[in-house]
């Protein structure tokens, strides 16, 4: 195949869509937690990894379909998020005055980083560090010249639907309005009567639940190990840097763009370049927007 044929093939576009929709779902959770609380959750990818293990064990040990256990896994993820919020972060957020915010952000990052290390290595202790994978929905469907396996199609549908649902929810519901208000101006939202605490814990629950759900989808697509969560965190960060806070549709577009960059980049070079491309995009995005989306927020004030 020539380079042009590679670029124009529907196969690649499909692969980019699948990757992009997963990234969108993962970034959504990061976005909520960062947007409402300025907590940079670097352990987000580890929740994805745990979700993948939950689906793996449900499928191989109990014979349950991953798509059926997905809601349960998501609920468990949400519960974990709720516990973390009540146990640790509520206290941390409560006694942070405006002057302390930046310092608190760096601190919470180290906190999440510690959590990430603990989860990775505890998972490796319990589940062994080996790669895992299982076969599920392997049937191939053809659409024109594009052949799609059932599991990829299912992942695309689930991730895409969830992102759209959350986007509509944030855009139309009262909770969504409150969330966006907290993202824009936390103090002002508090003054006009928004229940900031409720927005915060719901963001944690929703963020962790979506990460766990993404994990189920990740496990359906290919190999994973206790250490494969972190790249998803990085991908999520790229998406929220590019897409902005609290804007689910822009995030979706940014995620698809990243999916395209990664898929086409790998197709044009080699699979060894995947990590380079991902981190290259990450560093470039941060250098182009030195304070991330925060700068745009500050400018808007």
């Amino acid at each position: 195949m020539t380079v042009l044929e590679t670029l124009l093939s529907g196969q690649l576009l499909f692969a980019a869509l699948v990757t992009g929709s997963l990234y969108a779902l993962i970034a959504l959770g990061l976005n909520l937690v960062y947007g409402t609380m300025r907590l940079l959750n670097v352990a987000h990818g580890e929740v994805v990894m745990l979700g993948a293990y939950a689906a793996y064990w449900a499928f191989t040990a109990l014979g349950l379909s991953p798509l059926l256990v997905a809601p349960v896994v998501a609920a468990a993820g949400g519960l974990l998020g709720y516990a973390l919020y009540r146990g640790i972060f509520k206290r941390l957020l409560a006694d942070s005055s405006a002057a302390q915010v930046q310092r608190m952000e760096s601190n919470s990052l180290l906190l999440f980083f510690g959590l990430s290390i603990v989860l990775q290595n505890a998972a490796a202790l319990v589940f062994t560090p080996n790669n895992r994978a299982y076969n599920y929905l392997g049937t191939v469907y053809h659409l024109g010249s594009v052949s799609m396996t059932g599991n990829r199609l299912a992942a695309l549908c689930v991730a895409g639907t969830c992102c759209l649902l959350v986007a509509v929810f944030l855009g139309r519901s009262v909770f969504g309005l409150a969330t966006r208000a907290v993202i824009e101006r936390r103090e002002a939202a508090f003054i006009v009567g928004v229940d900031v605490d409720r927005v915060q814990w719901l963001s944690f629950v929703l963020g962790f639940a979506s990460a766990a759900l993404a994990g189920v989808l990740v496990s359906m697509l290919g190999q994973f190990s206790p250490f494969s969560g972190f790249p998803y965190t990085i991908a999520g960060f790229i998406v929220i840097i590019l897409g902005g806070l609290g804007n689910a549709m822009a995030g979706l577009l940014a995620a698809l763009l990243l999916g395209v960059i990664e898929t086409y980049g790998v197709a044009l070079t080699s699979a060894n370049m995947r990590s380079m491309l991902l981190y290259g995009a990450f560093v470039a995005a941060l250098l182009l927007f030195p304070n991330g989306v925060f700068a745009r927020r500050a400018a808007a004030r």
Binding site: S106, L109, G114, I117, V118, I234, N272, L286
Partner: protein, 323 residues
């Protein structure tokens, strides 16, 4: 003075460490010397990390990039240029990288700086991994590396330089400038502190040492793998040691280094995963409960009223490092 841990105790602790580490290779077996070497390595790395990150509050999660780059330079120039030159070159290369990326990277603040430095280190790691595999080098083997004693005393010298440098910077005008921008960068700039230049100098100075440390450590194992010398856990360990110790002078990190390197000696060989879990827990507990580290605890006893609550990763400015 109602000092819980007076200065002369510190002097005694430093002297004891100095003497113990200096005579170690003459009295102990290779295993114990190896432990001493890793204490010296972590000491040099942590002290050089503090130069930028403790003084200014720009917490770098990419310190390993300088270490790895230094190791890589020594390995690829192995037996082609004299070793001392290669080690100095390793420091120079790391400093050059810091100088090149310093200006754009140091514009980025707060948590974004933390993850940017992490991403940058990973980017360099994957780029070199890719370059190595493209040239058909999965791993390299070093023949004829120098004696353990030579490695040990090179590392000893680097650790002493790193401690001396942090101590000197801490009490200098430069160091006060760095501290002022930690408290409030805009205010410091308004008062005439050359903020950009100071940050860059601290970044470059703090990069040269891990470059040389990496160069020396490359000689320790005869087998070179890119992923090992660029392991992000090296950066994490450095941060954990510095936070555990606390304070922005050379003393706090010493406590952190001693505690964590001995813990890793106990656990690393038998239960590396368990060690990592404990390292992560140490990070969580200290950030959450004792963000000022052991030093903060000692100084809180000294002057309970001056401590700010929730005063993150850095020590309060008052009793800093001025002797």
């Amino acid at each position: 003075m109602r000092d819980l841990f007076p200065n002369r105790w510190w002097t005694a602790l430093w002297l004891a460490c100095l003497v113990l580490l200096a005579v170690l290779p003459f009295v102990a077996n290779d295993y114990v010397v190896g432990i001493g070497l890793s204490v010296l390595m972590w000491l040099a790395l942590t002290q050089s990390w503090c130069l930028l990150s403790k003084m200014t509050g720009y917490v770098s999660l990419g310190h390993v990039v300088f270490y790895g780059l230094g190791a890589y330079l020594v390995v690829i120039t192995w037996q082609q240029i004299p070793l001392p030159l290669a080690i100095v070159g390793a420091g120079a290369l790391a400093a050059l990288l810091a100088a090149l990326v310093g200006l754009p990277v140091l514009r980025v603040r707060g948590p974004y700086f933390v993850i940017l430095t992490f991403g940058l280190a990973e980017l360099v790691k994957y780029t070199i991994t890719w370059a190595e595999s493209a040239s058909g080098m999965a791993s390299r083997i070093l023949f004829g590396a120098p004696d353990l004693q030579v490695i040990y005393f090179s590392m000893f010298a680097l650790a002493v330089i790193a401690v001396a440098m942090l101590t000197w910077v801490g009490s200098s005008r430069f160091g006060h400038g760095l501290r002022s921008l930690r408290e409030n960068e805009e205010a410091a700039e308004t008062l005439g502190v050359p903020v950009v230049r100071y940050k860059l100098i601290a970044f470059v100075l703090g990069a040269a040492i891990p470059g040389m440390v990496g160069g020396v450590m490359a000689l320790r194992s005869t087998y070179f793998v890119v992923g090992q010398v660029f392991d992000p856990m090296i950066s994490v360990t450095v941060i954990a040691m510095a936070i555990l110790g606390g304070g922005d002078n050379a003393r706090g990190p010493l406590l952190g280094v001693l505690f964590l390197s001995l813990l890793s000696e106990l656990l690393w060989a038998n239960a590396p995963l368990l060690y990592m879990v404990i390292l992560g827990l140490v990070l969580i507990v200290f950030v959450l409960v004792l963000p000022q580290g052991i030093m903060g605890l000692l100084e809180r006893k000294k002057a309970p009223s001056t401590q700010l609550p929730n005063d993150a990763a850095q020590a309060s400015p008052k009793q800093g490092g001025t002797p």
